[in-house]
């Protein structure tokens, strides 16, 4: 569990993003929802622009548009006005009020304001909740999982402690981590469904940010988990959490509704995929569909075909914590030497891993990337990788200089195979250059 961090006073080429961005991302996976950033206009404008560039989709988000005097005198007034406006104009199913560093430092009690608004308006069929996400803690991953946890709380609140009369044996919940792409979530849902299980994902960006044409413009999200499906999660027989950051929301559900959860740190790589399929086999009491046998064979064959190029290769990986651990796992299966693992913030999962992890930025990646073959990070790393002479593989968020990053699949046998080949091709091309 050795966690190290660089000693620079300043962050150079940061890997970190603000927590509210994770909150906005999570809410994109709720149907007809609107995240409301309680902060200055820029807080939401930057989040919107960044997510739009990454997903190449319209992003739902609004702001309380705080100005200097509002912060000094009455930020509540803006919040109320914003809620009123969104409410009366769009009638969303879900509104998540997300604080920012600005409102946290100003010390406004926005959470009781949100509660009061709920009481005054007697909101019944809709979900209004708040989550505290200051930028001076954590990063995207923590912002996302905290939002899912608050969302889960709010859903439990709707049920008012009434636990369902009976459990549905064939219905399971899925809590996908922030790093999973729309394609990944779709693939995981598909794998689970192929065992005859019904799955409710919270959130579900696979139906909101995977790209589809639906007519009728709406500033709200146009896909994702419908609110009534979220309420039905209380009837499921178990919860599958992918990524250690999703353990807390999963545990909420266990405590409140007695639904057991099973945590998978990641689903990339042969071992992780095996564990997942085996688990599904157990809970569904169904044999694994034959296509997974084929996919497993295909993956193993690809790994053998590719291992020549991976042999002796080294990598620097700079990603959000869960993503980094999951990527490290499959790279290790391919025999890649992990020169340095860098992540923007510390999480409990990092304390458990045997690997040496650095809390740092892309500049730290650059420092350790001299003579390294692969550099895996978000698009901001491209220039540093070029300076260090490493081959650049875009992953994480934002990826704005490659098409389809948000729908590419890295989970299960099929997704792992896709990445084994993708990265293998880069190594192969490098070898062709004779370098």
């Amino acid at each position: 569990m050795p966690i190290k961090s660089a000693t620079k006073p300043v962050s150079v080429n940061p890997l970190k993003v603000g927590q509210p961005l994770g909150g906005v991302l999570a809410l994109q996976g709720m149907y007809r929802s609107m995240p409301l950033l309680h902060g200055a206009q820029g807080c939401s404008a930057f989040s919107k622009a960044l997510l739009t560039r990454h997903f190449r989709e319209p992003i739902a988000v609004q702001t309380s548009a705080l100005q200097e005097m509002d912060v000094i005198f009455d930020a509540d007034r803006n919040l109320e006005e914003a809620l009123d406006h969104i409410w009366s104009k769009h009638h969303p199913d879900v509104i998540g009020v997300i604080s920012t560093a600005l409102t946290e430092v100003a010390g406004v009690d926005f959470q009781s304001r949100v509660k009061a608004f709920k009481r005054e308006r007697a909101l019944k069929d809709s979900l209004l909740f708040s989550v505290s996400l200051p930028d001076f803690h954590g990063s995207l991953e923590t912002g996302y999982s905290s939002t899912v946890e608050s969302l889960m709380d709010a859903v439990l609140g709707l049920a008012r402690g009434k636990s369902p009369k009976k459990r549905r044996r064939t219905q399971v919940n899925l809590l996908p981590a922030s790093y999973l792409t729309a394609g990944d979530v779709m693939e995981i849902k598909d794998i689970i469904a192929s065992f005859g299980l019904e799955v409710i994902s919270l959130p579900d960006i696979s139906t909101s940010l995977s790209g589809h044409l639906l007519t009728g413009f709406s500033p709200l999200t146009r896909g994702g988990t419908p609110l009534d499906s979220a309420c039905q999660m209380l009837e499921s027989s178990c919860t599958i959490a992918i990524g250690a950051s999703m353990e807390r929301p999963a545990r909420r559900l266990t405590h409140a509704a007695g639904i057991p959860y099973h945590l998978f740190d990641g689903l990339s790589g042969l071992a992780a995929s095996d564990a997942f399929i085996h688990f599904l086999q157990k809970i569904s009491r169904e044999p694994a569909p034959v296509r997974f046998r084929w996919q497993r064979e295909n993956l193993l064959d690809s790994m053998l075909d590719a291992h020549f190029y991976y042999s002796g290769a080294s990598a620097v990986v700079a990603l959000e914590p869960d993503h980094m651990l999951s990527t490290a796992a499959w790279l290790e299966e391919m025999g890649v030497e992990l020169k340095r693992l860098i992540t923007p913030c510390s999480t409990p999962a990092l304390l458990k891993t045997e690997r040496e992890v650095w809390i740092g930025d892309l500049d730290d990646a650059e420092e350790s990337a001299q003579g390294v073959d692969l550099w895996i990070s978000n698009s901001h790393g491209r220039k540093g990788a070029a300076r260090a002479g490493a081959s650049f593989i875009p992953a994480g968020l934002p990826v704005y200089d490659e098409l389809g990053a948000h729908t590419s699949v890295s989970v299960g046998y099929r997704g792992t195979m896709e990445w084994v080949n993708k990265v293998g091709n880069v190594l192969l091309a490098e070898r062709g250059k004779g370098g």
Binding site: P14, P20, A40, F46, T52, E68, V105
Partner: protein
């Protein structure tokens, strides 16, 4: 710390040189869009390619925004580095000034930049950090200009931030260095950010007429070069009313005449070059501009011919920031496109009158409302396409409306004569793309069910 806005000019409406209209209206919570002042300040200053830009605040301000614009540099890349003090909770409680001191020293010792711009953010403005004091102390200690940019996000809009950045340049940078040599044909370009390399194209045109750019403010600019901007003979404000104030101040202090111009469209390009030449007061240069304009316009009209045929009568909705609205209209009109809707949400009264002079009452004016209003106009005016910024791109695509990106994130240069040709090509390729036909068709099974009904 004294806020930069409060030095007696708060009443000036954003970007307007004379305070005749009301200040920027308060944004509507729950219905606001667009960036903040911090964003605007960065946009203006980051293109100074050899300087370091340090954001003093929690991570989001830089972490969520860096590398989001298409300003290109012909050399140094330091301004593309993201620097932030990335304040944590402890820093905010106990104060981040020490961290700022150390960060500045670290940057100067490692990168040796000609200057460091230090940006205030909402949080450090709120906690009352003495950023100016820190910058002053470090400037003296290090012998490198450390320049505070006091434009936290919550003071107002993006435009205000641009204007505040202009003030920073005027008060703390311009007049601090001297050029090695000057000529009587030196021009400053103000508010040209070298998006997709547009500035280089303009520079080539100017060189052909014997004019040269003394200071690029700020696209592909260098810190020292901005410092000697006061020695220019002419200021051209390129499509950025927020920096008009800078030109006005320079005229007052250094007697440099300025004019507002644009390089979108052949007519505007020729006009801008002529205006520049006129203000240098050199008849030879004027004659050379005339020749160049005649030659380029002739060549362009031949090359544009096939595209004009295909674009004639097409209807477009244009939704872009401030000044670009009127300058792009001219370019589109030269291509035979009818502008049937135009966004005016960020335009001044002057901009609107310029728009009106170009399209009169034929078009719908869209003062606000963003995506929803754009689409409404597209339908009611039967427009063939939307020309706007990236923010509205995916909204248009979802509705299967052809879209051309005109804002800062794009990767194509549309300025100058060749730029108009590029724009024409882009428009034709977009309009005629096979995907529109394919997207308009139903899936075969859907057609069959319709049959069955």
């Amino acid at each position: 710390m004294e806020a930069a806005v409060s030095n007696g000019r708060l009443e000036v409406s954003c970007g307007n040189k004379i305070p005749k209209s009301t200040p920027c209206p308060r944004p509507v919570p729950g219905e606001a869009s667009g960036g903040c002042s911090f964003d605007g300040a960065q946009i203006t200053l980051i293109p100074i390619a050899d300087a370091a830009h340090l954001v003093h605040g929690p991570i989001a301000c830089l972490g969520n925004s860096w590398e989001s614009r298409g300003s290109l540099s012909s050399g140094p890349e330091l301004s593309a580095y993201g620097f932030t003090t990335d304040l944590g909770e402890q820093d905010i409680i106990f104060g981040g000034e020490q961290k700022l001191h150390e960060s500045i020293r670290y940057i100067v010792s490692r990168f040796a930049p000609p200057a460091v711009f230090v940006y205030t953010t909402c949080v450090t403005a709120l906690t009352g950090e003495d950023i100016e004091g820190v910058c002053k102390a470090e400037s003296e200690r290090l012998g490198t200009p450390i320049i505070p940019v006091n434009s936290p996000g919550f003071v107002g809009s993006k435009n205000l931030g641009t204007r505040l950045a202009g003030d920073v340049l005027f008060q703390q940078v311009i007049g601090t260095t001297e050029p090695e040599q000057t000529t009587s044909h030196d021009v400053n370009l103000i508010g040209e950010y070298n998006i997709a390399g547009e500035m280089w194209h303009i520079e080539r045109l100017m060189q052909q007429t014997g004019m040269s750019i003394l200071s690029r403010i700020t696209g592909d600019g260098r810190f020292r070069e901005v410092g000697w901007a006061h020695r220019a003979k002419v200021n051209m404000v390129v499509c950025s009313r927020a920096l008009l104030g800078l030109a006005v101040q320079m005229e007052r202090k250094y007697s440099i005449p300025y004019f507002e111009g644009s390089f979108y469209g052949a007519r505007e390009t020729s006009y801008s070059l002529r205006q520049m030449a006129y203000l240098t007061g050199d008849r030879d240069v004027e004659r050379r501009v005339d020749k160049l304009a005649a030659r380029e316009e002739m060549r362009l009209s031949l090359e544009l011919e096939p595209y004009r045929k295909q674009l004639k009568g097409k209807r477009a909705v244009l939704y872009t920031g401030g000044v670009k609205s009127w300058s792009v209209i001219t370019a589109l009109q030269e291509l035979g496109i009818k502008v049937v809707g135009v966004g005016t949400n960020k335009s001044t009264a002057e901009d609107v009158s310029r728009i009106a002079a170009r399209i009169g009452d034929d078009a719908e004016y869209i003062p606000e409302g963003g995506a929803r209003q754009i689409l409404k106009t597209v339908r009611s005016r039967k427009a063939d396409m939307v020309i706007a910024g990236g923010r509205n791109m995916y909204m248009a695509l979802k509705e299967q409306v052809p879209f051309v990106d005109i804002n800062q994130e794009r990767h194509k240069a549309y300025a100058g004569y060749d730029g108009l040709l590029s724009l024409a090509k882009q428009l034709v390729h977009t309009l005629q793309h096979p995907v529109w036909g394919l997207a308009a068709k139903l899936a075969p099974w859907e057609e069959e069910t319709e049959f069955a009904d």
